[in-house]
């Protein structure tokens, strides 16, 4: 099988394959994708060649094809010696070119300035320099202050949208008759947010049925400063720390969040009045903000049957309420008009993945069938068995596009169930899934005594 043989239309075919067919197809896809990227992608080739893997991968090589999500698209920080690539635009451009399997004309990097005032300005400049390649540069949520920076082109975006769209349809039951309200800005580089937005449009929602509760753009620099985990050096950093960090947080708390809640409530009230199905999507804490506003007002919004509450991104900051308490509040303020419980479904994904695992009615997170998900033991070897707990890793040979191979090891410990025969999810859908309540971020540092970190 050749890399790229499958187009976006064929991802959905995986649901109709038998298990052996699927396994064989995915394994062939992994090998073909490996060879294709090995020949073109400097960073990938260097990484796997150092592990003893050549241009042709065998089955036993699979664990050695996995690159850690915690490092791969953050490695510019080590290379440049700074988490601020806007200070080293050309070095960053070289790094980016090494990460991609397309031939990025490096001579254009000479046109970049010696520095940019912000990461957003740098990313715009690079997108402009390579506009003929349709590159867009996306980021992780950036709350750690060290952003993952990842490139997508038209094909990988299409595949990503298709992947999300198929999962939205299959696991969340979304159709074109929903009204989508996102607790996020329309303009953002956060990969998950962008893909969720594009995907509901792919479901068939017209732009007038897709709303964004946050009316301001969220540039990566603002996200970083707001998180308060990394500031620039010197005077600029001092201003960021002493002025902008408290100011942005104050504006967020006093103006942006209340306004987002008001916008969401206005849309929700209107949808409830008109009996329209709604998808309200945001982080658990953002949705809780909406719920608390209703609690304080002593009111509820009965939403039309078929409406959905969708969450993603996990709990990235300390929060006064537990997920259980948040869910209880959401159930209380959003009763379904027909008395049935309103589904609250979570989405598990990451910037590096062109797919997301969506929670089914049984609460498990389903991995799309074109993705080969595995768990790894502490030595990085594949765990076997129809139900295994370990670090989640995945191979996405068909959905990840042409820019880099979607073979990654995450930093999340999960329980992965094969979803075959006696392990099929109670929701009835066959295929692999992550057991509900099993996903946890692994703290790699144990009790360190007198050693440890400086």
């Amino acid at each position: 099988m050749e890399h790229g043989a499958l187009s976006t239309e064929t991802l959905s075919d995986f649901w109709s394959l038998t298990e052996p067919e699927r396994d064989q197809t995915v394994l062939q896809g992994i090998r073909a994708t490996h060879s294709w990227h090995y020949a073109r992608n400097t960073a990938y080739r260097n990484a796997v060649a150092a592990r003893g893997v050549g241009p042709r991968a065998e089955s036993g090589d699979l664990p050695r094809l996995l690159r850690p999500t915690s490092q791969t698209f953050k490695s510019y920080i080590d290379l440049l010696g700074t988490p601020f690539p806007q200070d080293e635009p050309r070095g960053f451009g070289e790094w980016l070119a090494d990460q991609l399997s397309v031939d990025l004309p490096r001579d254009r990097l000479r046109g970049l300035r010696s520095s940019y005032r912000s990461l957003e300005a740098l990313l715009q400049a690079i997108e402009h320099a390579f506009s003929d390649l349709d590159l867009e540069l996306l980021t992780s949520s950036g709350t750690s202050g060290r952003a993952t920076i990842i490139a997508r082109d038209r094909r990988s975006t299409d595949l990503n949208v298709e992947s999300f769209y198929l999962s939205f349809q299959r696991y969340l039951g979304m159709k074109a008759d929903h009204r989508a309200i996102f607790m996020m800005p329309r303009r953002t580089r956060i990969a998950m947010a962008r893909m969720a937005r594009f995907s509901v449009q792919r479901v068939g929602l017209t732009p007038d049925r897709v709303h964004f509760a946050i009316p301001f753009p969220a540039h990566p620099d603002q996200v970083r400063i707001r998180a308060g985990r990394a500031f620039r050096l010197g005077r600029r950093g001092l201003v960021e720390r002493r002025v902008w960090h408290p100011a942005i947080n104050a504006i967020q708390a006093r103006y942006v969040d209340p306004r987002a809640i008001r916008v969401a409530l206005t849309r929700l009230d209107r949808a409830a009045r008109e009996g329209e199905k709604v998808l309200l999507f945001g982080s658990l804490t953002q949705l809780h903000g909406v719920a608390l506003a209703l609690v304080r007002a002593g009111r509820t919004i009965p939403l039309a049957p078929g409406s959905l509450l969708g969450t993603g991104g996990g709990m990235k900051e300390a929060y006064a309420f537990s997920p259980h308490e948040i869910r209880r509040d959401l159930e209380r303020v959003f009763p379904s008009a027909d008395g049935s419980a309103l589904p609250l479904r979570d989405t598990y994904g990451m910037a590096e993945a062109n797919w997301a695992a969506m929670q089914c009615s049984a609460g498990n997170y389903h991995v799309p069938p074109w993705v080969h998900a595995v768990t790894l033991d502490d030595d990085g070897e594949l765990r076997s068995g129809s139900r295994a707990t370990g670090l989640l890793a995945f191979f996405d040979p068909f959905g990840s596009g042409d820019l880099f191979p979607g073979f990654f090891r995450t930093a999340d410990r999960v329980t992965l169930v094969g979803g075959r025969e006696d392990t099929i999810c109670p929701c009835g859908d066959a295929g692999a899934y992550l057991e509900k309540n099993s996903i946890q971020r692994v703290d790699l540092l144990g009790e360190a005594g007198c050693a440890a970190q400086v």
Binding site: A47, T82, W95, A448, G449, Q453, V454
Partner: protein, 591 residues
């Protein structure tokens, strides 16, 4: 009924043990397999797991215990007699541990299964005579450093090496100066305050911390009185080793440990902490920074509310250590006495420096993280040669001192991370990974330009933090003085600990150049300087995190001591090399 596999993770003297433990039903226990807690960090039923238990004491039990320990002081031997008997008993235990059939040896065999360290590593440390040698303590406690130590290195009468004191900023302001002749002869330490009650807190990242605290506390007997009550809160992660040795000591000479107890109790039990710290004259805490902060927060409250002198607190928190390889190593090259061996002097130094990173798999504060190599004008490729030799020696050492049962994933993450930094845009970045993916260690030669990565404390800190689990970065410097000036100064003073050095020429003493270098390192916060190969075997007679044995007995202005543990660095290094090679030759394979 407890399973036969349960080990006693505590120690109480025989007389007290009977009264406190008879008919006891409440115990706490921890089960570990390969350094991972069963049911939390690995499966609850992991094969080979070892369970350790300790009593959960009631308020009445504590009263019994504390009264019993205090009463035992009156019966215990005193002064130098106590110390002589302790040294004799420890010597016997060291010999006993060499016997595979001895009961203590059988207990020690549980340590690898519980802690994750390899059996060969534990056996090698047990076989090292340095850890049982208390000979120098009497001399160390008789030292009389003066204020001149704030300005100059002072000799240590009766001990090899030098000593220097770096006052804290507050002490400097208060006028602790050794530069003025009128002050320089004044003693640094005040009158003795021999402790009657010492409370310790031992970390579990390396075995035996609780025992070190016990030995240090008991050494105060050398001032002439009875041994203090020593109560140590041990770590759940390594509660086995210290009780085993204390048990063996009791079997050899019961009175020696009649004032000592090692237990596990809850830090968050404020009433108990207040009760124990309220009795303490001296608190020694070797623990994580967060634990130390909690204990420090409890101590003033105790002292403020009593008429007794303020409790003395010796914190030993998070630290990091480094190595410095002087250019002489490369310039002496093959002309040394070692030229007949494979690789000559460079290989020997790489072996010794490798040991400093290998022992305790860099989980200890004394484990070297980054090896700084001084460039030589005579040998351009000196750093590369050293890094290649180091990789070769670490490969050899991984067979005789295998890495513990730590996840390979962490090692491979480091390998991947640095491998990704080797080139940028098709050009070399100056960074090379010299180990293979399947090696149980990672060696990185970082020849990026000075200031690359930028002289950013966070970036350098990240490099240092990466060096755990046998990850070593070799970093060339044009001159050794660059080490304190450009690197150590980026780290917090309180975070630095040991520096292992390979410097000097045969027969050469401490040169002016070396003492200047050592002084600059001490000013940055380095507290102990020893030759390569001795990093894992610090001597109690010298500075431990800036504290001398004298600090156990007396007060002095705030600041830290730095000690040099040798007079002739090259000769001390060669002696260490020969001792290690001899020991390895005598160790049966598989040990």
């Amino acid at each position: 009924m407890r399973s036969p596999g349960v080990i006693e993770g505590f120690w109480l003297p025989k007389a007290i043990r009977r009264s406190v433990l008879d008919g006891r039903r409440s115990w706490d226990e921890s089960c570990f397999a390969g350094g991972r807690e069963c049911g939390r960090e690995c499966d609850a039923d992991t094969p080979g797991a070892v369970t350790a238990r300790w009593p959960r004491l009631t308020e009445e039990d504590w009263t019994l215990l504390l009264d019993g320990l205090a009463a035992a002081r009156g019966r215990a031997p005193r002064g130098p007699e106590f110390w002589d008997r302790l040294r004799t008993a420890l010597g016997g235990i060291a010999q006993g541990l060499a016997d595979p059939k001895s009961p203590a040896r059988r207990g020690i065999e549980a340590i690898p299964a519980y802690t994750g360290y390899s059996p060969a590593m534990i056996a090698s440390v047990m076989a090292a005579p340095e850890i049982w040698d208390l000979e120098q303590m009497a001399t160390a406690l008789a030292l009389e450093p003066t204020r001149a130590a704030t300005a100059h290195w002072q000799p240590l009468p009766g001990l090899p090496g030098r000593l220097r004191f770096f006052p804290s900023r507050a002490a400097k302001i208060a006028g602790v100066s050794g530069r003025l002749p009128v002050y320089s002869g004044l003693p640094l330490f005040g009158a003795p305050e021999t402790p009657g009650f010492v409370t310790g807190y031992g970390a579990g990242n390396v075995p035996g911390t609780a025992l070190i605290i016990v030995l240090l506390a008991l050494s105060t007997t050398l001032s002439g009185g009875a041994p203090p009550v020593v109560l140590v809160r041990n770590s759940r992660r390594e509660p086995i080793f210290s009780p085993l040795i204390l048990q063996a000591l009791e079997e050899a000479d019961e009175e020696l440990v009649s004032t000592v107890a090692v237990l596990v109790w809850d830090y968050d039990d404020a009433a108990l902490q207040s009760r124990l710290l309220g009795r303490s004259d001296l608190v020694i805490a070797a623990a994580g920074d967060d634990t130390i902060a909690r204990i420090a927060g409890q101590i003033p409250r105790v002292g403020d509310s009593s008429d007794r002198p303020r409790v003395r607190f010796h914190p030993h928190g998070h630290k990091v250590s480094f190595s410095a390889i002087g250019r002489e190593v490369f310039e002496l090259g093959h002309q040394s006495a070692l030229s007949s061996g494979e690789g000559g002097l460079v290989a020997a130094v790489a072996l010794l420096a490798g040991l400093d990173s290998v022992f305790w798999d860099q989980n200890g504060c004394l484990s070297s993280r980054i090896h700084f190599v001084e460039r030589s004008t005579q040998r351009d490729a000196a750093p590369l040669e050293y890094a290649e030799r180091l990789a070769g020696q670490l490969r050899r050492l991984s067979e005789v001192l295998p890495r513990g049962a730590w996840p390979l994933r962490q090692l491979r993450d480091s390998f991947d991370r640095y491998k990704a930094l080797e080139s940028l845009g098709g050009s070399s970045t100056g960074l090379q990974v010299l180990s293979d993916y399947d090696d149980p260690f990672v060696v990185i030669l970082d020849e990026r330009l000075p200031g690359r990565p930028s002289p950013n404390p966070g970036v350098f800190g990240a490099l240092v933090n990466d060096c755990q689990g046998r990850v070593v970065i070799v970093r060339p410097v044009d001159d050794l003085m660059q080490l304190p000036r450009d690197y150590l100064s980026l780290l917090p003073t309180r975070s630095l600990q040991s520096l292992s050095v390979a410097v000097g020429r045969p027969g050469e003493g401490l040169s002016r150049r070396f003492l200047d270098f050592a002084g600059a390192c001490g000013a940055c916060g380095v507290t102990a300087i020893r030759v390569v190969g001795r990093g894992a075997f610090p001597q109690l007679a010298y500075s431990w995190d800036g504290l001398l044995p004298l600090d156990l007995l007396r007060r002095r202005p705030p600041g830290h001591f730095t000690t040099i543990e040798f007079d002739r660095p090259f000769d001390a290094m060669m002696e260490t090399y020969r001792a290690f090679v001899d020991r390895m030759a005598q160790t049966p394979s598989g040990q």
